[in-house]
Amino acid sequence: DVKVTQSSRYLVKRTGEKVFLECVQDMDHENMFWYRQDPGLGLRLIYFSYDVKMKEKGDIPEGYSVSREKKERFSLILESASTNQTSMYLCASSFRGTGIIDGQYFGPGTRLTVT
């Protein structure tokens, strides 16, 4: 079974702190994704990566950065956390597929609260 793990289930940080969210997958997937999920808004893509050291902006990249130094690991960084970044953060991974992105496997999520 594909396993996508995230470093924390719950996290509480203060405004202005630098926050690191880690995601690791064990299926040798090329693609990795970071989403945030808010009630009524569904999942919104923050960044995705289709290869090591490669990244693409999603719908809402402002206030976030990412790092992918190894194929299995994709990190989301909040440079200076703000209260409007309080949310559920979901990591996902998938095979690249033949010209399309294959189905994504999600981690359990990190519920981040910024006070």
Binding site: G40, G42, L45, F48, E56, L90, I100, G103, Q104, G109
Partner: protein, 111 residues
Amino acid sequence: GQQVMQIPQYQHVQEGEDFTTYCNSSTTLSNIQWYKQRPGGHPVFLIQLVKSGEVKKQKRLTFQFGEAKKNSSLHITATQTTDVGTYFCAAFKYNNNDMRFGAGTRLTVKP
């Protein structure tokens, strides 16, 4: 960028009734994926549709992709309490590297 509308936002049914959720895009899509998220859980991949007019079935679930590749539906026949959750579509448009999830349809089933 593309807009993805998913309707209805909520659906409450009696066990045994059918359920359908619709996903509509303003632009032609490359492919579409469907996911299910149980309460308190994370999204789980159900299926991917790629071809115009494609229909796929998984037991009581039927997935369709429109002829114009702008809309899709998920139909559940004779719902069960295990079908409870939120169903999301994810729409892909590759010529501008665009991927977007619908807001989801939350299904509740009364026994």
